[in-house]
């Protein structure tokens, strides 16, 4: 059963049963009260007629009859019976009356009793007169009451049916409304696949549970995307970085083999091959190091790390991958106190992000000087990577963090548009920000802000 139906049933069941319960109680108590009321009226009539028919003084009779005629209207099919009670307690029964013996004994014992047969109501009272003990019974049809109760029943049934319908309708709307964000989210999640992992769920800031769920999904997507992109990054880097030394090795070997040579020449070739192979090994190691996503099957490791050490590691990695680079660390804004440089984060991921940014700077400036500066404010650390490269056209700036996007002036450079999105993702996981300033042909300045 769908949750929507469940909510609907629960809601409707709860409210409709409350209404039904109330209607039934209203009807029951109204019924009860109207009986009592009617019996009271019959009792008054019984006493009055007894006083009129069996008076102490003859003159009283006329007065009582006058009161009865003036003030008491005749009830529908009102009948009076006078049953004399003998001294031994036996009752002279009337043929027209078919009342249970229990009724009479109750009248004698409690001085009055009531009895009901369908719509006919009987009230009996014990009356002591000059002529002896009598049981006076007045019977009548409670027509007014029957009508009144009929109306009440009809109104209650109609109103409960109507309100049930309204409540079920409201329940349908209610369950739809409650589950609307979930259905919304489902549509959004369905549209995300491995091709467009950069998509995220919409989050408004109402702070309810659904939003928490969306945020949780988004965090999961962040991590997934980072892992995914790290692998892509590795593949693209590998294809790019490994081909140069491989070509050198193959060329050197082919050159050495295409004719008979002196042993010095062979030694020279082999040495070249050896140094290139060494470089290859170096590059492979560095790439593999970067490809470790920081997830390594276990939980991500977050710790306090020093941002200046991070910069040195990045510089070291770049030195291995691109010997002869001109990356400089700018110390001009380093804070004096070391504890201003402690930031929480995953070292491997941050290293990957920064080295991607710096490698981009090296690549797109044709190995011109690149400066990495570090500054600390009270709340964040700021890393500024500046190059003198080709820059990014202003119209491309909004898109540089989308996967597989490459700026329009990068056709001379190999690349797949993976590095910057990955860096952005990692920085976002650290709740930081990347701000890019660029001028075509003058250079690019990338500011990475990481919160303390």
């Amino acid at each position: 059963m769908k949750i929507r139906t469940k909510i609907l049933l629960l809601f409707a069941g709860l409210t409709v049963s409350t209404i039904l319960m109330m209607s039934i109680l209203v009807y029951y108590f109204a019924n009860q009260h109207s009986f009592e009321d009617f019996y009271k009226r019959l009792e008054i009539r019984a006493y009055l007629s007894a006083k009129a028919t069996l008076p102490y003084y003859e003159s009283d009779s006329a007065i009582y009859n006058e009161i009865r005629e003036e003030h008491l209207e005749k009830l529908p099919s009102e009948k009076e019976y006078f049953l004399p009670v003998a001294a031994d307690g036996s009752i002279h029964n009337n043929e027209q009356l078919a009342l249970p013996a229990d009724f009479y004994s109750r009248v004698i014992r409690e001085k009055k009793a009531t009895y009901r047969e369908g719509n006919h109501f009987y009230e009996g009272v014990l009356y002591k007169s000059k002529q002896g003990l009598y049981i006076v019974i007045v019977s009548a049809i409670n027509k007014y009451n029957a009508e009144y109760l009929g109306w009440l029943r009809r109104i209650l049934i109609i109103s409960s049916v109507a309100s049930s319908l309204i409540l079920v309708g409201a329940g349908i709307f209610f369950s739809r409304y409650i589950l609307q964000p979930i259905r919304h989210m489902m549509v959004q999640v369905k549209s995300i696949s491995s091709r467009n992992l950069h998509l995220r769920l919409n989050v408004d800031n109402s702070g309810d549970e659904i939003n928490d769920l969306a945020n949780t999904f988004n965090n999961m997507l962040d991590r997934l995307e980072t892992a995914f992109e790290t692998q892509n990054n590795f593949v693209s880097n590998a294809s790019h970085e490994l081909s140069t030394p491989l070509t050198a090795i193959i060329g050197e070997a082919e050159l050495a083999l295409n004719k008979e040579r002196t042993s010095e020449k062979y030694i020279y070739s082999l040495q070249n091959i050896l140094s290139e192979a060494g470089r290859l090994e170096h590059i492979t190691k560095s790439l593999l190091h970067l490809a470790q996503t920081g997830f390594d099957g276990k939980k991500q490791e977050w710790s306090q790390l020093r941002s200046d050490e991070l910069l040195f590691t990045v510089k070291h990695t770049i030195d291995k991958l691109h010997p002869g680079n001109k990356v400089e660390i700018d110390y001009s804004l380093f804070p004096e106190e070391e504890d201003k440089l402690l930031i929480p984060g995953n070292e491997q991921l941050l290293e990957l992000a920064l080295s991607n940014i710096v490698m981009n700077a090296v690549k797109y400036s044709n190995n011109q000087p690149v400066s990495i500066a570090l500054a600390a404010t009270e709340k964040k650390n700021i890393i500024i990577v500046k190059d003198l490269g080709i820059g990014i056209p202003a119209e491309d700036l909004p898109y540089i963090f989308s996967p597989f996007f490459r700026a329009s002036n990068t056709s001379h450079f190999k690349g797949y548009g993976i590095g910057l999105p990955l860096a952005m993702n990692i920085i976002r996981m650290h709740k930081g920000d990347i701000i890019v300033n660029s001028q075509v042909n003058y250079g690019t300045e990338i500011r990475v802000e990481l919160p303390l």
């Binding site: 001009s332 804004l333 380093f334 004096e336 201003k340 500054a375 600390a376 500046k386 300033n437």
Partner: protein
């Protein structure tokens, strides 16, 4: 301890003078007061409702704030205090009072008159400063090769390149 005043237009560039100040006061701590000059309002109603309210504080950009914190962290042993003060007024007497109140020992005079007022009421107090008889120091910033945007923090960097 010297109190040094730097006129500022809340650009990061105006923070760069701190580098030279610290370089020229190697063995003592300094207090740096960044002064932003604002004209008094003209209309009577504005004058009555004129307060030290958040309208002025809004002029201080987040980047400038970051820049101040960076400088403070970098020279935490050389700079005792670095604060921003608003100077309201445009007369020599007002400036004299302000300098007296802040107990200023030295005024920095930027040589390159680059002043971009961040609001309508801001003005460059250069003329007033040159007329007053406090000790002054002229500082020339190095020419900058490339800054993508003058308001970014990297403007601080280039000062020491």
């Amino acid at each position: 301890m010297k109190n040094i005043l730097i006129p500022t237009d809340f650009s990061i560039r105006s923070l760069s003078y701190v580098h030279s100040i610290v370089a020229q006061h190697p063995y003592e701590q300094v207090n740096i007061i960044l002064m932003h000059a604002l004209q008094m309002p003209d209309s009577l109603f504005d004058l009555v409702t004129y307060t030290r309210n958040s309208r002025h504080v809004e002029l201080i950009s987040a980047d400038f704030q970051d820049g101040c914190e960076i400088i403070r962290n970098k020279y935490s042993s050389a700079i005792h205090q670095l604060k921003i003060e608003f100077f309201h007024g445009s007369t020599r007497a007002a400036l004299r009072n302000f300098l007296l109140a802040q107990n200023i020992d030295l005024i920095i005079q930027p040589v390159d008159h680059e002043y971009t007022p961040p609001s309508k009421r801001s003005y460059d107090p250069e003329k007033l400063i040159s007329k007053c008889n406090y000790p002054k120091m002229k500082i020339q910033l190095q020419k900058q090769r490339f800054v993508a945007n003058r308001s970014t923090i990297s403007a601080l960097l280039l000062a020491t390149e």
